[in-house]
Amino acid sequence: MALWVEKHRPLTLDKLTFHHGLTEHLKQLAGSGDLPHLLVYGPTGAGKRTRIAAVLREIYGPGAEKVKVSQRVFETPSRRKLEINLISSSYHIEVNPSDAGIYDRVIIQDLIKEIAQTQQVATSSARKFKVVVIHEADALTRDAQHALRRTMEKYMSNMRVILCSTATGKIISPVQSRCLLVRVAAPTSEELVDVMGQVAKKEGISLPPAYARKLADGSKRNLHRALLMLEAAYVQQYPFAESQDVVLPEWELYIKDIATAALNEQTPAKLMAVRKQLYEVLTHCIPPTTVLRTIAMHLIDLVPELLKPEIAHQAALYEQRLQAGQKAIVHLEAFIAKFMSVYKRHRMEVD
């Protein structure tokens, strides 16, 4: 039973529902017979990958959809073996080098070299080049990006790279300048409501616009999540009621509990309890930055106006330390402790 989000994913450029101007551009590109390197960027759930897949299909036809998942073993210079999951069709290959951590350079080089050095076998295909899609390109290390820069030029004749990233900031400028930058903005609430309406129609359920609006707001303009929410809500209670709550992921609720706990009591004992909860979240593979951000945002929602800038400031400070440091728990806890002391002082002053 496939999720709706997969089931109703548009497969061709024609079926894309928003960003029509962009769609036109992509169509022209794909139709022109040649393709530059692409750097597709935009927030999560905006439809980057859907668009990439649609472009591939536009270029190669339905054959690009026949993908298989395989595991490849790469060997690092220090002879460590890395297993990487690859998704490939006969025309393209998708890889997520952040799986390899600091060894991503090896993968970039080996993989691209290998693909670039083999010519397209199927003579029937209209294109001479293959495509390498690199997901989470902003997680690539500097080394890997520099390696990429050279390979991109060298194998231009029979290989194209499509980078997929949430922001351009972490991509080095030589790579950026070799790519055509494609920005995929987050859909507006209206567009989200529109898409959800179409999905609901296909599933044969009725979705009241007011509730759709609520879902769209709850998803924070993330289409991917909005559709998941819709399905979860449908499973939970149907027909939909106006007052029905938006289904949030458990981890988010749990993190919000932590924030609320910090708001209710400011003692070292509470801090200890919070540490346990933080560990709990971290062991469930929730990225520390997400944890910090969720807590901070939730707190900002709850505290009085006066404290908001201070909390934003502290959150930024500790997120920066989180990036620089190694032990996430130390920084998360320090942030909570700082918040507690700030909030406690504020309460005393009010009293």
Binding site: H224, A232, W251, A269, L271, C285, Q326, A337, S341
Partner: protein, 727 residues
Amino acid sequence: MAKPWAGNAIEINSSPKVSAAGTATFDDDDFDMDFEIDSDLEAMIAECSQPESATTTDHPDCGATQSSESSSRSSQKQTTQTSTQHNRPHGRRRAISDRPRFKLARPQQHQFHTLDTHVNTIAEDRGELWWQRYVPKSADELAIHASKITQVRGWLEMASYAATHGGSRGTDYFRILVLEGPAGSCKSTCVRVLADELGLEIVEWINPLSGRLSDAAQNEDTVGVVRAFEEFLSQAERYTGLQMQKSDGVMNDGSKGKLILIDDLPNIGHRDTRLSFGKALTRFSMLPARGSFPMVIIVTESFAAQQVLEDDGRRDRITRRFRETDTMQNADISIWSAMDVLPTGVYNSSYCQSIKFNPVAPTIVVKGLKRILLLRNGLDNVKGSKLTSTCTAALKTIADECQGDLRLAVTMLQVSQAGNQIPTSLDSNLLTVGQKRRRKVGTESKIVDISTNTGGETRRTALDLFHALGKVLYAKRTLVVDSGQRLTHGRLESDPDEILDRLPMDLSTFGLYVHENYAEFCSNIEEAAQASAYFSDADVLGSGQHGAAAGTLDVYAAMLSVRGFMHTKNNPRLVEDSALPKSKSRNNRGMTAFRKPLFFEMYRQRMTNSRSLHDEAGIEMLRIGGLGLTKTMETDLVLDVLPYWVQINARAECEVASRHPAIFQRLVGLAMTDKSGVGNTLLQRLAVSTTTVRTTHQLPPMLSAADPQEVDQKLVLSDDDVEDFSE
């Protein structure tokens, strides 16, 4: 090889004279000296005329460096010799053989009223360590608890019986004995001594030197080692087989057979080596007991810095001080133990038995050291010999400091004695035997006096972890009379630098300990906030993103966190700012239990979870759920897809959940769904709807709190019942 000054061979000839020197000639020093030299000359001559093999026989058995041939030879020789000397006391022989044959009798030593034997032994010590020299020769000299000796002896007896006679049920299982324990806990010595006692010949595996192997055109010399090991094992077996055929279980010379000893493990750290080592052992354990010989593997447990506490013997003492929740996690953390060395299949099989050695207890260490001191003074078999109280105290200091490592203790004793040879140190740091004086008084007891200088000068003792933690966390201050400054809060009783200098572990791990426990010692949140800010800074510093500076910054990081906390603690400034009366002092509320950092445990758990997302559970989820390309995106998967997927599938027809309950429940756990009320009801519903599949053992404890009817229903339908029925 025969050194003129170290010939130990002819104690049979010289013993009457020497023992005479030891007792009768004591009144006249000069005469004594002459006499000694005479006997030594005699000894030298006798030695030169003896074949070399005789010289080797009496060398103490310094096992670790002996090759298998020489060890077998020496043990045979030993048995023959024992038989010729059987009517003489064991200890006596040792003592005399330890006496030198040739030495410089310097007059000034004489004036110190030291026994000349002492001077002699020192002269002879050159290049030899005491722990090798004074290795125990019989079971009652071993410095371990008697029950351990009985255990090991029992096993060896059974095993050798099984090897020679085989047959009877039960003895077949005595194939491999694993001795685990920290360094210096008498593991090897115990085996050697007992094997000697039981007449077992030891065949020992010695790692080949890598130098030789690199010649042998091997790409990886480790492979060579592995091959050599396999060959060693098969040879050991084959050899025994031949011997068995010949004498059919009855060995001559009382030798009951052989014992394969693996003390020197191949390089287990290398994956391939470990695998083939494991394979060889597995094969070995499968062999029938009869016709092959038992194996003893000695595993010296070592621990990475953060696992210092897992040290076997100290574990009991320490876990008591940890809270209960933590003790559960303690069990499986030891980093380098027999479990890692041996394949689990072998370790857990009934063919393998493991005996754990604890660090040697201080009292036993003292006993062992005393034995050596007495041996050195030739007083070992004199009834009523005892040490002076200062001497005993010195031995106690050594025993406390050696942390259960007997080898270390003996070396410390030797070093402390070597220090005494410096003529300028006249402060009576000399080993003297007060026998002469005592005799005049008329008592029979002989007293050895030693005072060691193992105190502060030679080696600064490491602080106990809890001691160090306590020093930091309590941050005691002595109040100083403040001169006008309002805000001083006293001087720290213990210097932070001093604490860091004497840590029993590495700095960053200690930082984790402090961080784990600091919050309970903060009296208010302001303190906690400031302290945690310091910890955060320290972590950034210590994270080593600074290239070459990586290692050096650790020191600053540790200093920052320790000093930061100690400064923050009970700082009047913070208390004033908070405008709150200071909550009751933490120091007064009795003992606080320290906790072990959860950090490593949590890290590992995170890794496991992450792996299971990529492994079966994740792949299965994607397969069942028909998810496509999201596979490679872990964050996406965790943050969005997984939580909704679980909810959607759990609430729908439960098809997935009923078909793959185990996987589904793992995913539920991963999605944190089990943390909330929704999750509880969900799991309960699952429990009801999937009772036909065996899932009961995996359900979280919350189920027991569910209403009894539901539980009843589950019990009735449980798969376990069906199984019982079919049986």
